[in-house]
Every structure is written in C-alpha cells, then in structure tokens.
C-alpha cells in the first residue's frame, strides 16, 4: 500500500504565543501558561535575586543599604512580582508533582486543583503585599 493513498495524519502542534488569544482558556490552561511565564520571569531575574542575596550578606553596611534600596515603591513592586512568580511557580509545581503520580487527572479534579493553586498563591501574594507595604 502506497504512503500517498493514506489520508493525511492530523498534526497536533503546540499553541504558539501568537495564537493564545484565540483559544478558550480553562483554569488549568491559565495556571499552566502562568507557570511558564513565572518560570521565565524568575530565570530572567536571577541576577537581581543574587544581587539582593549578595547585598544582604556582604557586610552590615550593605545590609543597611539594602534596607534603604528596598524601601522605594518601585523596588517593592519588583519584589512583589518576584514573590508572586515564586509562589505561583511553587504551588503550580506541587500540583504538577501530584499529577505526575496519576492523582487528580480527571477533568473535575484538574479544574479544582488549578483553582486551589490560584487561590493559595494569590492569597499568599496579598499577604506579602500587605507586609511589604507596611499594613502589619
């Protein structure tokens, strides 16, 4: 049987970035793409995080300088964004690890766990924001 006679096989490709707006995004898909975005953001911010660690450990002087540096609203926003990225990546990662063990793979459980990831990570981010901007 010749290859040409067969009907063309369906091709399943990754959703390209430019196509995301055209897709219906269930909660699990939102958590998934945010997992990528937060991971890439953390990757790009690595030198900044290392700089913060560096300043916090180098000497008492740089530690105090860091306190001043991180008291500005813009730096606080950057740290808040980093906190969100870490919290989301952490929570969504634990969901991944659980699902890798074949737990909660059906549609309903997957939707519930993705909602849990969003609720937990956003709640913790709000707590970090309140702490950062001096509510408690």
């Amino acid at each position: 049987m010749s290859e040409a006679a067969k009907p063309p096989r369906p091709q399943f490709r990754n959703i390209h970035l430019t196509q995301i707006a055209g897709y219906r995004m269930p909660l699990a898909a939102i958590v998934s793409i945010m997992h990528r975005i937060s991971g890439l953001f953390l990757f790009l911010m690595l030198p900044f995080v290392l700089f913060l660690l560096d300043s916090s450990l180098l000497s008492e002087g740089t530690f105090d300088y860091l306190k001043g540096f991180t008291s500005g609203w813009f730096v606080k926003l950057v740290i808040l964004a980093l906190s969100w990225a870490y919290l989301h990546h952490f929570c969504a990662g634990i969901r991944h690890l659980i699902m890798d063990n074949h737990i909660g793979l059906d549609k309903d459980s997957a939707r519930k766990s993705s909602a849990t990831v969003l609720v937990v990570s956003i709640t913790l981010m709000v707590l970090v924001a309140l702490k950062l901007f001096g509510a408690f």
Partner: protein
Amino acid sequence: MADNNIGPKRLVVGAHYGLRDWLAQRATAVVMAVYTVILLVCFFTSTNFSYQGWAALFSHQWFKVATFAVFMALFFHAWIGVRDALMDYVKPVGVRLVLQVATILWLIGCAGYAAQILWRN
C-alpha cells in the same frame, strides 16, 4: 532488533534524554521546595531579624554547600524549563540554538556569582 532497525523502521528514540531531563526537573523541584520550606522556617522562627542572625546562618560551611547545591539544582531545573519553552515557541533552528547557548551562558554566569557570594571569606 538489529536486522529490522533500518530505513523507516529505524529506532530514532530510546536514549531516554527526554525522560532523564523530565525526571531531573522533578527531582530538582523537590530539592528546591524542601530548601524553601527550611529557609522560611529559619526566617520566621528568628525572633529578631538582623544582619548578625542572617549572616550567621550563611557562615556555616554545611549551609554554604547546601545552598550551592540548591542553586545548581535551580540552574539545571531552569535550563530544562527554558529549553522546553524554546523548543515549543522558537522554530527557526539557528535562532533557537543562539537562545539556548545564551541560556546556558546566563546560568553559568549566575552559578559563578552564587559561588562568589557564598564563599567570599
């Protein structure tokens, strides 16, 4: 296997690179999660957060080694993740190769910086 491993029947996968990296990404994730929890516990149980307490925690050789190991886990984890994203979204081979090399150089640079921070004195 040997006599039909030719032409269209040739087995083009099987070195388990994909599985190995997938598993490594999970293992490094667990290492980082455990370290995160330990660091948060240290942070929240210290009654008076000061430079002395913070620097003292990082003055132990075992803690430097553990932190460096976690950083290396992080860089390996990030490499697999960024490589996966590049393979998904960047189709031109030349551009992808350049970005992958840049990713590796970025992470090696970060590893050097991390080592310098931990073992300055």
